[in-house]
């Protein structure tokens, strides 16, 4: 079978920025085939995809060959490309809020896309647009066609984007991370839709993603990219189970799975690469994410599970021992928390948290899951005193700390690890300052003592103490997240709130941070509130889990109960939306 698209020896460079984004990349797609393009952030996936349609600006230099249906696209003139774009090859971009024109009704946008390649009347194009909107599952498509992108939810927008891309029934669709901005449940729906349409229209799909779950579900073949190069390609099953390249293999291994042992150490990419490849070569070393000192990682192959096993003072209750609150006084007791946000003008106020109660025992790891907007972050903010609840109470270690004012002037015993590693550090202050500031405020340590503490903390989270003098923009995302953890630990908190601590990190770094959190919890006897939308991660990290839906806790229970015998429909929906477990590596 002739390939539909054949990329060979492709190079994409940005001479102005001194970046060689894609180097000597070759792969092909047959008609109707789906291939996955995987790799961590910045590995050149999008650059490759954009090169196919010649969508790079004049700043890019593209060499090599891209043959589509026998025609060479590299160096083809604008007119020729214009005839192919949207007609023969379409793309779906990641964030549909930005990818759709915010100033025009969605129907008009789809109709315009149709009329670009078909000589039909306006009304005919409109009809076609409505037809497609219906096809991608938009209710009352005729009416909604007149709405603007911002009036749609994220999943709906992505459907609209798909409709626009498929309106001309192209032969090939390049989908660049079409679901990363979406909820797990919605993600599943969108992927299902894409698969359906692919079958129906018989088109080929190049799916750009960093999610192995998605790959295993959708793709027949996988291309793994790393630092601009293709390091591995082959059938999905092959790559996911028996990758040959150490990097690809490590990448697959580092993702927590629904069937692994909760709380166990996850294999991390640098370790795996090192064990498989020996000492890292020059190029790999220059990657900051790989420069973590071994000492931070090498410690401890802990016992089967987490929690308070080695904790001094905590009387030996771990997971699986019933509800914490029944046995001892809980560390944190939240009762009937309610938070209401005033609605926008003309809308009803939004009850983001609605009568939520839960306890966290000392040393316990408590998980909070729920889809986007279910109120997870709002709850964390209340616990941290960043806003007061409209109703309800928070009692910590016997003290009522519901009102933020009650906490003023005392060393806070609850600390936070933030989601966004780029926003959580003050870009204008050195790392040492950021970690040392709370020490200066709440302890009488001298300057040198503080420096020593900071160095110790940095070592504890697996960073080189010399980094105290660095600025955040010199650090990679994973390193920043470690700094954020060190800052949270500086005041010796009893409870750590981690709000999606890894969801903004690359797959290759996620495992390191998760391992670090597990370890710290063990060594310090920390209790933790772990917030996430990702059930696999929560399952891996927590012994008790609460499921949140629209501001209410719909179910709370032990990990295994929630995972295996969910009571609530919402929990079941969440579980169903999880991509099928990836194949076992190695």
């Amino acid at each position: 079978m002739n390939p539909l698209l054949e990329v060979s020896g492709l190079n994409v460079a940005f001479p102005g920025a001194g970046v060689r984004a894609v180097r000597d990349v070759s792969w092909q797609v047959g008609p109707g085939e789906t291939i996955g393009l995987v790799g961590e952030s910045g590995s050149g996936k999008s650059a490759t995809g954009l090169a196919v349609l010649g969508l790079h600006g004049p700043g890019a230099r593209i060499t090599g060959s891209i043959r589509f249906d026998g025609r060479e696209l590299v160096g083809a003139d604008e007119r020729e490309l214009r005839g192919i774009r949207g007609r023969r090859i379409s793309t779906i971009f990641q964030d549909a809020l930005d990818a759709l024109n915010p100033y025009r009704p969605v129907g008009a946008q789809i109709a315009e896309a149709y009329r670009l390649h078909h000589d039909v009347s306006r009304t005919a194009a409109r009809t076609r647009a409505v037809e497609l909107l219906e096809r991608v599952g938009i209710d009352r498509a005729g009416r909604r066609a007149k709405d603007y992108p911002h009036q749609f939810s994220g999943g709906m927008r992505q459907r609209v984007m798909i409709a626009a891309a498929l309106v001309n029934e192209p032969d090939l669709v390049i989908a660049d991370e079409p679901t990363t901005a979406l909820d797990a449940t919605v993600q599943a729906q969108v992927l299902r839709l894409l698969t359906e349409l692919q079958r129906e229209m018989g088109m080929a799909v190049v799916l750009v993603t960093h999610d192995f779950g998605v790959v295993s579900q959708m793709c027949s073949r996988v291309v793994v990219m790393y630092r601009g190069r293709v390091v591995e390609q082959g059938s999905a099953a092959e790559v996911l189970t028996a990758a040959r390249h150490p990097y690809a293999r490590a990448l697959v291994a580092s993702v927590p799975r629904m069937d692994d042992t909760p709380g166990s150490r996850l294999p991390t990419v640098p370790e795996t690469v090192a064990s498989l490849m020996g000492p890292l070569d020059e190029e790999a070393l220059s990657d900051p994410t790989l420069r973590v000192p071994a000492a931070g990682e090498a410690r401890s192959d802990g016992p089967e599970d987490t929690a308070a096993v080695e904790v001094k003072g905590a009387e030996g209750f771990g997971i699986g021992k019933g509800r914490a609150g029944e046995k001892t006084t809980p560390l944190l007791r939240a009762r009937d928390l309610t938070v209401t946000f005033p609605g926008r003008i003309g809308r009803a106020p939004l009850r983001a948290v609605d009568g939520v109660s839960f306890d966290i025992a000392p040393g316990e790891s408590f998980g909070l899951v729920g889809e986007s907007g279910s109120g997870k972050s709002t709850i964390s903010r209340v616990l941290l005193g960043l806003r007061s609840p409209d109703d309800g109470s928070v009692v910590f270690d016997g003290e009522d700390i519901t009102r933020p004012a009650r906490r003023r002037g005392r060393a806070p015993a609850i600390q936070m690890v933030f989601q966004d590693p780029y926003g959580s550090l003050n870009p204008d202050r050195r790392i040492g300052h950021t970690i040392g500031a709370p020490l200066a405020l709440h302890t009488d340590l001298s300057r040198t003592e503080r420096r020593e503490r900071v160095a110790a903390l940095l070592t504890e989270v697996g960073l080189d103490p010399a980094l105290a003098d660095a600025y955040p923009d010199e650090l990679s995302g994973g390193m920043r997240q470690r700094v954020g953890i060190a800052r949270a630990l500086a005041l010796e908190p009893r409870l750590l709130v981690a709000d999606e601590p890894v969801s903004a990190l690359d797959v290759s770094v996620q495992a390191q941070v998760l391992n670090l959190l597990t370890e710290l919890r063990r060594s310090r006897g920390l209790a933790m509130l772990f917030v996430s939308h990702d059930l696999t991660v929560v399952r891996h990290m927590c012994s008790r889990i609460a499921v949140l839906h629209q501001g209410r806790i719909v179910e709370v229970g032990e990990r295994d109960q929630i995972m295996e015998r969910p009571v609530s429909d919402h929990t079941r929906a969440l579980l169903d939306a999880m991509p099928a477990p990836a194949h076992h590596p190695v």
Binding site: R82, G86, S90, F93, N101, Y103, A113, L116, Y148, A165
Partner: protein, 310 residues
């Protein structure tokens, strides 16, 4: 939408009142216009008499409350120099200013669009495409009065092409409008250009190209998006424009309210200054109100969320 409008309107009125109060207080605490009114050689009794007749010997607070009380009832005192209701004087001259500002604004806006499209629509610009921006940049750096003085010298005196002052013939407006436009063009052109670049770099423009749109079509859609911030700047520029009319009208003897404000100040004609400023301030806030509403029309997001751009 109604609530938004009333809120916006009351804030607007608040600003107008605040601004006018500030002006009133500075003005009325700074001396007695009777001196300017009285003829040369008038004895002090005559001056005092005049001052009393005009009410300028009352305490400041009393003058303040009576002025705003009257103003609320729509009554403004007579202009001291023109001896007729100050409002009428202003109204008779408002047309000239509106015409001048309108022509200048229209010219500046059209030029800004042209310059913006020319320099902003291509990614591979280079000096050949960039030069209009340098002209704009130069215009931004030259004082308005200097432009006026040079234009008069070149086109009026040396070349005898255009009238140098007044509003007598149809061509009289060319030089003052050009001077005024020179002041408004740079911010407009730059905002439009920069935003056009920005919109073109946004994913939806790339989507357009990916769907097979021609460059011109993509630019057209992006230009629509860039109109929004341009319109906002236009609203802010309204203040500068109105301030500009003060100088331009003086340089070119254009019989509008800007020049009127200057002469009224020179003559200590307090009622006229206040009436004139009321109109200038109202014009400014009105333009901004329109801009806010226009924003609602242009930007669907604002339309549905019912809030202003700021």
């Amino acid at each position: 939408m109604i609530r938004f409008l009333t809120r916006r309107l009351s804030l607007t009125l608040l600003a107008v009142w605040g601004a006018l109060s500030a002006v009133f207080l500075v003005l009325h605490s700074s001396g007695d216009p009777a001196v300017m009114m009285a003829p040369i050689g008038a004895p002090p009794e005559k001056v005092a008499q005049l001052s009393h007749a005009l009410g300028y010997d009352r305490p400041l607070a009393e003058q303040y409350f009576s002025f705003f009380g009257d103003a609320l009832r729509g009554h403004f005192p007579d202009s001291l120099t023109f001896q007729q209701p100050a409002i009428e004087v202003v109204l008779q001259r408002l047309g000239a200013t509106v015409l001048l500002a309108g022509v200048a604004l229209a010219a500046a806006a059209l030029l800004a669009l042209a310059v913006g499209l020319w320099t902003g629509s291509r990614e591979d610009g280079g000096a050949r495409r960039e030069w209009p921006m340098w002209v704009v940049f130069l215009a931004q750096s030259v004082p308005g009065f200097y432009v006026g003085v040079l234009l008069v010298w070149i086109f009026g005196v040396r070349l005898h092409w255009l009238p140098t002052s007044g509003a007598t013939t149809a061509t009289s407006i060319v030089l003052p409008a050009a001077t005024l436009a020179c002041g408004v063009l740079p911010p407009l052109a730059r905002v439009f250009r920069n935003n056009l670049r920005g919109e073109l770099a946004r994913p939806y423009s790339r989507t357009g190209t990916a769907l097979g749109m021609s460059r011109a079509r993509v630019v057209r859609h992006a230009a629509y998006g860039s109109l929004l911030p341009t319109v906002t700047v236009l609203g802010l520029e309204a203040g500068a424009l109105l301030g500009g009319t003060v100088i331009v009208e003086s340089v070119f003897s254009w019989p509008g309210v800007g020049q009127l404000a200057v002469t009224a100040l020179q003559n200590q004609d307090y009622p006229l200054v206040l009436a004139d400023l009321t109109f200038l301030i109202l014009a400014f806030v009105l333009v901004n109100l329109i801009v806010d509403l226009l924003y609602g029309v242009l930007d669907p997001r604002v339309r549905h969320e019912g809030r202003g751009p700021r």
